[in-house]
Symmetry: C2
Subunit: 348 residues, 2 copies
């Protein structure tokens, strides 16, 4: 009744079978042949129901969770695996935490080529290496064909917040500036260009990248107490991130249209798709809010790293009704509202 | 371009829209109307990218992750929400940890009735209350109709392991006994009975329950150093759990057929479905492996709690090739092998 024929084990490596999610030999084989070789580390090798580790004294723990359902799975500049690692790494970094560990929960569609899974897992390994985090626990479920779209990944990140760091959206206040670390809109446009139904191409690549080295430089470079807010503007883009901060801190945020780092290729694609670049998802840029008098120092630190090379002040925090507004070079202005939903679904 | 018409907000409460996963107003509305009221606590209310908290000195941290894709979502005795909480709580408990926090990642199918989500979330709240854990971070994604089966949930659990506790599958050793806390097979059969295609009914209800109070009683009741292994035999059932332990510890495990607590209703359903109860998933029973001389004390402690009332010794750990065998009352025996995949897919 339980098939233990070894032929099946050896022939099963080309497609995901329902049995790969069953917790038996096939699951074990997947773990041993795909996940352990990619993620292997002593904590993961505990091979228990969970993973146990020490915490440095005096540190607070930061935890974040995110599921990734991006479609298509591979796109210019990245893939779902890269996003799944960087997404949780960046959420931790934006809490002021040093990311340490990730868990990875896979939901696989029956029939998924195991090679696709291998590629995604290899990409997660590379991204984890770049960010300096380890994957310490995992889980795999398989659902029937048509009950998933290739694969979905949940990552939960755990990091340590050093003493004295207190980053929170409600800390934004009048007199602060808003710094953006790099060009806006590349990720969303790169993913859309891979959707066959849209029939357009672009030279843009996703900006997916870990931000924790950049945030660490800022916090360890003497601005630990000065950085009020850090945020990676993913789903919903810069507009949504800043609206959330304005609401949390009860402040007004004024952006200067001229200073927004929107690449021409993003503007062109956004025009064609009827989108506003400010609402397009990014996966590798950082918004930093801190007192105006610290702006020059922060820009100096950020521009010293490749991922912050193009850092610039894009706006200011002012007293006023919680809202976000863009000032045009001609003296006009327009409200940048919180979007209802998503311009581009399944972008991360 | 971004629709901010309030009518849409107010009329959107009956079905999940793609926009509910977009990180904008609809996502916010879902969080504020569905998730916060159910899970509200000061850590969750940090409303940041992640959640930051202190860790007691001297404790180790335990982390576990699990995705839940059970079909159907509601079944006799439980639902996906209950499973999602208890699954991670029990994995932590089986590491000897005191479960503290859960993260919750939802993947929702477009068109899912919001009422279904509310019911699941309410069930998670009740389960979290029973287990004494808090949900401290969450994430929601929405995928198009037909790219999910109603909803999938990932939970990642974080707990504290008290000093002196060291529970691990490789600690099973010759002379240990295997205790099972209660009846085997109810969960899997209860879920199957709800699958219309199978056309059978049963009086059985899922055994889904938190095990952390039971494990705490054992560890705090004087057996902290004696308990070698604890395991909740979910996917793959008792057979898979014991095979994994036999392999990790390089021991043989001998079960006594007579002592296996298999309810008649499970045997009847298993016969009809062509299944072996030992491979059927359980969600509320605990296997404990500890030295034979501690068995009476452990049974006394376990039987003092409702979820351990029927605790009994079901087998012994012996020297020998890593394997599991059942001895019949007539002197015969048969190997209980590791299953290839899953007898019953999507059972958790």
């Amino acid at each position: 009744m339980i098939n233990t024929n070894c032929q099946i084990l050896h022939n099963s490596s080309d497609r995901i079978l329902m049995g790969h999610g069953g917790g038996g030999r096939l699951t074990r084989q997947l773990i041993e042949e795909v996940f352990y070789p990619a993620f292997g580390n002593p904590l993961l090798a505990q091979s228990h129901d969970g993973c146990v580790f020490d915490v440095e004294e005096g540190y607070k723990l930061a935890v974040t969770t995110d599921s990734f359902v991006v479609s298509p799975v591979f796109f210019p500049g990245g893939d779902i695996g890269h996003l799944a690692v960087n997404g949780s790494v960046n959420d931790l970094a934006c809490c002021g935490a040093r990311p340490l560990y990730l868990t990875a929960g896979f939901i696989l569609e029956e029939g998924l080529p195991v090679d696709t899974l291998r590629k995604v897992v290899a990409s997660m390994r590379r991204a984890a290496g770049m960010a300096g985090v380890r994957i310490i626990a995992g889980d795999t479920k398989v659902v029937e064909r048509g009950r998933c779209d290739a694969l979905y990944i949940n990552t939960t990140g755990i990091g340590l917040v050093p003493p004295g760091v207190r980053i929170a959206p409600e800390r934004a206040r009048e007199g602060d500036v808003v710094i953006c670390s790099g060009p806006i809109g590349a990720h969303g446009v790169a993913v859309m260009s891979e959707r066959e139904s849209l029939g357009f191409s672009t030279s843009l690549r996703s900006d997916t990248a870990p931000l924790n080295h950049l945030t660490a430089c800022l916090l360890e470079g003497g601005l630990k107490a000065e950085v009020h807010v850090m945020r990676d503007p993913t789903r919903g883009g810069v507009a949504t991130a800043l609206n959330e901060i304005a609401l949390a801190a009860s402040v007004h945020i004024a952006l200067e249209e001229d200073s927004l780092p929107i690449p021409e290729a993003v503007t062109a694609a956004a025009d064609m798709l009827g989108l506003d670049p400010l609402y397009i998802a990014n996966e590798g840029i950082l918004l930093v809010i801190l007192p105006g008098e610290c702006a020059a120092e922060a820009l100096g630190i950020m521009r010293g790293r490749p991922e912050g090379r193009e850092a610039a002040v894009i706006g200011r925090v002012e007293a006023g009704r919680p809202s976000v507004r863009i000032r045009t070079p001609f003296g006009g202005s327009r409200v940048v509202d919180m979007p209802m939903g998503e311009q581009l679904p399944r972008i991360c």
